[in-house]
């Protein structure tokens, strides 16, 4: 069983506006990319069960996707509950807030065990995709 090397913890550094996401309190206030995220692309990622995988666990206001999980809080209204910076940290690595969390870290490969070769050393989403998803979640205000 392989463990990710520390150098791979924040992989896919190309396109990153900063060397490593900077956590302040319970948030990552600064965007990870220079270009702002695009909500429509973010919605497509959240809806796609092979990319965002979010609907496996979360219900979300995406009515055309009939099969949504019930293992996690609804994403409806999440943009009113959390700031973009707070949303960003929850995507990058929810373990920073709750080490036992069910939610996968979307942009950290630290401490993973037995990852299949095809996914070795790769985060679940790229930085651009993280920013797109944050931009979409921020629009979910009710």
């Amino acid at each position: 069983m392989r463990r990710a090397l520390p150098a791979l913890v924040f992989a896919s550094v190309a396109g990153l506006a900063q060397a490593e996401p900077v956590v302040v309190g319970d948030a990552i206030p600064a965007p990870l990319t220079a270009a702002p995220g695009e909500p429509a692309r973010g919605r497509a990622i959240v809806a796609d069960r092979t990319r965002g995988l979010c609907l496996l666990c979360h219900p979300a206001p995406i009515p055309e996707e009939r099969f949504q999980g019930n293992l996690a809080p609804s994403l409806a209204g999440v943009g009113a509950r959390l700031t973009p910076g707070q949303l960003r940290l929850r995507l990058v690595d929810s373990r920073r807030l709750n080490p036992e969390t069910l939610m996968p870290a979307y942009f950290s490969t630290a401490g993973l065990v037995g990852v299949a070769d095809a996914w070795q050393g790769r985060p679940i989403l790229r930085v651009e995709e993280i920013e797109d998803v944050v931009a979409y979640l921020a629009t979910l205000r009710d």
């Binding site: 069960r49 995988l53 609907l55 496996l56 666990c57 009939r66 099969f67 949504q68 999980g69 019930n70 293992l71 996690a72 809080p73 609804s74 069910l102 996968p104 870290a105 490969t109 401490g111 993973l112 065990v113 037995g114 990852v115 299949a116 070769d117 095809a118 996914w119 790769r122 679940i124």
Partner: protein, 242 residues
């Protein structure tokens, strides 16, 4: 407390109220699928059982075993194997017996004839409770460790889904407790009869983890643990699952 958190307590509550003990995946299926499994004429897995019965006679197994004497065997597997000093599962035993005693060439684990032979043998124990081999304590402990270890790019453990979240919904799928008592079984999604190893491969690749090699010590340990935690559940082979 948010509603989804409250829901998380329901299985625990059920447990405290006396619905204790393992629950087969059968219990949470739709009535239509339950009826399909119960009806031998409509259960697609019965075709493999019949194929296995013919192979059992033709491949030399019947020279040593009367079919009636196979009753109860699958309920005791995986079993301790003195020569290996550890567990052997039913597929491993059938392969070994067939090669060493009947002098037949090896059958790959997932081949249709192997699945058929295994279905026929396990079917002879249908309805009998799983009685784990007490000599496998060490393998079961290693299997439990694997069951609780978070793995893969999604960093999830078997225990998270099949203990904590059993009864919940993962996208459109009901999460069962994850018991091995129905295998080989007919799965609608596969449109075929498949092995426990195939099911486990699905769960491993689902969390983007490298699957365990079938028949490897780790795979056998996990299998021994799964049968241990399913103690008392009846063998359902050939079960039907969504």
């Amino acid at each position: 407390m948010s509603p989804w958190r409250r829901q998380g307590w329901l299985p625990l509550l059920a447990l405290l109220l006396g619905a204790a003990g393992p629950r087969s995946g059968f219990e949470t299926m739709t009535p239509e699928l339950q009826a399909m499994q119960r009806d031998d004429a409509g259960n697609p897995g019965m075709l493999s059982v019949l194929e296995g019965e013919a192979l059992f006679a033709r491949e030399g197994c019947a020279a040593c075993h009367a079919a009636a004497a196979l009753r109860g065997v699958a309920a005791r597997y995986p079993a301790h194997d003195a020569a290996r000093g550890g567990p052997i599962d039913l597929a491993g035993r059938i392969a070994e017996c067939r090669e060493q005693r009947a002098g037949r060439p090896p059958l790959p684990r997932e081949s249709q004839p192997m699945l058929a032979l295994q279905s026929f043998v396990a079917h002879q124990s249908r309805g009998l409770p799983i009685t784990p081999d007490p000599r496998l304590a060490e393998a079961r402990a290693e299997g439990e460790r694997l069951f609780r270890e978070r793995r893969g790019q999604l960093n999830l453990s078997c225990a998270q889904c099949h203990e904590t979240l059993a009864g919940g919904r993962l996208a459109g799928a009901n999460i069962p407790e994850g018991h091995p008592n129905g295998y080989p079984l007919y799965r609608l999604e596969w449109q075929a009869l498949g092995s426990l190893q195939r099911r486990l491969r699905g769960c491993f690749t689902g969390v983007r983890a490298e699957p365990l090699a079938p028949g490897s010590p780790a795979a056998l340990a996990l299998e021994a643990y799964l049968f241990g935690r399913a103690a008392g559940l009846p063998i359902e082979t050939p079960a039907v699952r969504p």
